[in-house]
């Protein structure tokens, strides 16, 4: 009997030891291609425990809920990185350890949400612009967000089902910064959006490509990766970078404080910073990348796509999304409920 207990115990120990060489990654759903994970496991022998979330709020709540984090790498959006750094939830990275860091586009290494660039490794990014199906609106002059207010688009617009994205449009068209904490400005943005409501047909952010491809909606706002996916199947779909500016979100890898497998976390970060791996990710999901060196590894139709990669001048029109204070968030949430009620 004793012998069996001993054997079972030592077996358990070896299992536990085998489990030691892991990295626990928690990322946005559909933002890390399974191919990338598989290749990492093959090349490094480190097992990836991979799980996904659907909103920053869920990630934030999970990290807050337990004192000792079980995650080694998490992937919040830009504005949540600010909050997590402020609340001392994530670690300052030793960038010297990441030999592939040089692959990144310098435009993304000192963003507003992480001015020193020491907390976050940009992974995928995107921006909301105007999407239109030219079969239905062949000659419409669509250059700016304000063009969407035209009465001829009555009951036809798609808006993203995302309070911050919609308020970005409300603020930008009034000339305010999308990162404005001023509650008075938010109120004006709300009134501005109320004027847009007669044109709104639906809110959606999870199945935009299929809505566009099947022409259930023919004009509105959408993320550029979604517009590209739709454009592949329905060439009438066009994506427009609004001249009255737009907001860029960047989802980045960060390492939580007291991550249990910090060494492996660094190995993972350095691995995904490789140009080839970043290129593989773009080919799988069509999200733009901040990895400049990756462009060389992309097929020309993706590398030259105006939808996925904005030009340098266009990029200058973009704002990085940063965190808002609690008053501003509370009033956005209230106004959002009001908008949906009208």
């Amino acid at each position: 009997m004793k012998k069996w207990v001993y054997i079972a115990f030592s077996l358990l120990c070896t299992l536990a030891r085998a489990n030691d060489n892991v990295v626990n990654v928690y990322a946005w759903s559909q933002e890390v291609s399974p191919k990338v994970v598989r290749q990492f496991q093959k090349d490094t022998g480190i097992r990836v425990n991979f799980s996904t979330f659907d909103s920053n709020e869920v990630l934030y709540a999970k990290m807050k809920a337990s004192r000792q984090t079980q995650y080694d790498v998490v992937e919040p959006s830009s504005y949540y990185i600010m909050r997590m750094a402020r609340e001392n939830m994530i670690e300052k990275l030793d960038l010297g350890k990441l030999s592939n860091y040089k692959n990144l586009n310098p435009a993304f290494t000192h963003p507003d949400y992480d001015p020193t660039g020491e907390y976050s490794i940009p992974w995928v990014l995107g921006l909301a612009g105007i999407v239109v199906n030219r079969k239905y609106y062949p000659n419409d002059n669509l250059e700016k967000w304000t063009d969407l207010w035209s009465p001829k688009y009555r009951n036809s617009l798609l808006l993203l089902d995302d309070p911050r994205e919609v308020f970005n449009v409300g603020l930008l068209t009034l000339g305010y910064s999308p990162n404005d904490n001023n509650v008075q400005h938010l109120k004006k943005a709300y009134e501005n959006l109320v004027a847009l409501l007669p044109n709104v047909r639906l809110y959606n952010s999870s199945s935009v490509p299929s809505l566009l491809i099947d022409e259930d909606v023919t004009i509105g706002m959408g993320w550029n990766a979604d517009a590209y996916k739709a454009h592949l199947q329905n060439p009438n779909i066009e994506f427009i970078y609004p001249k009255d500016k737009f907001v860029i979100w960047v989802d980045c890898f960060v390492v939580p404080k007291n991550a249990p497998h910090r060494e492996n976390a660094y190995k993972f970060l350095n691995y995904v910073l490789q140009a080839k791996i970043a290129a593989l990710q773009v080919k799988e999901t069509f999200y733009p990348t901040a990895n400049l060196a990756a462009i060389d590894y992309l097929p020309p139709e993706i590398a030259n796509s105006k939808i996925i990669f904005p030009s340098v001048e266009q990029l200058k029109q973009g704002y990085f999304q940063t965190d808002l204070n609690d008053d501003a968030l509370e009033s956005i949430s209230r106004y959002w409920q009001l908008l949906k009620l009208q």
């Binding site: 909103s55 934030y60 807050k64 709104v200 047909r201 639906l202 959606n204 409920q337 949906k340 009620l341």
Partner: protein
Amino acid sequence: MKHKFQYFSVGLITAWLCLFGLLSFLVMLTISFLQHDLDRIAVWHFTLQNYIDLFDPIFFKIFLKSFYIAFLVTAGCLLLGYPFAYIVSRLPEKVQNLALLLLLLPFWTSSVVRTYAMMSLLKTKGLLNAALLSMGLIHEPLQILFTNTAVSIGLIYNLLPFMILPIYVNLERFDVSLIEAAKDLGAKYTTIFRKVIIPLSMPGILGGCTLVFLPAMTLFFISDLLGGAKALLLGNLIEDQFLMANNWPRGAATSVLLTVLMAIGLLLYWSKTNKRVDYEAVT
């Protein structure tokens, strides 16, 4: 032996309900009286603020709109479900079982999946439009998806069995000789229906209405998918407060309020059914 098994099964169900029904409700009830805190779920500080917040005109409007949609859906389910239940209850027993099986068959698939299927029926290039266009009944595709009509259709489709089953159970036990008696006394069909069948099946109707009305206000994924996330139902409001606003105390207060409303509905139902029994005892 039989007693033991009875105690076991009743005990098991009681424990289950206490653990997952009562206990989680008590947790919600407690949280609803605590103060909201951004860093933690709530702080130990008694407050009525979460309930006072619910008197905000916005929440009041959401309540009203949910009531309105739930009312339409209940009426729709009743109009469709009552004749169905009546017809089924008059069929031979074997056919009855088959009809009920067919009614419940779609429930083997998740209702989210069925709602997606509903989307592909109603969409611009969907089956309904394709059929109507090919028959020449319409020349432009109908824009049904992402309207309140689509939400109502989806809710009625999902909730219809909850209306049919209680009415069916009630009508199945219905004593047919009462109709014959009424006929013998010279009552017309409409009179029989109004004065005999409807009053006697009232408990079933009320039961069905309670089972439809409350879910109609809370099935948030239907209004998200079919209504283009425009119509905010009470369910959306609760979901929003828990997940997006991260305000558990207020979300808890909203769901407690909903539970109280349901309790009132059930009390009404009980008082009605009890009255019915008294009435029969008198006559």
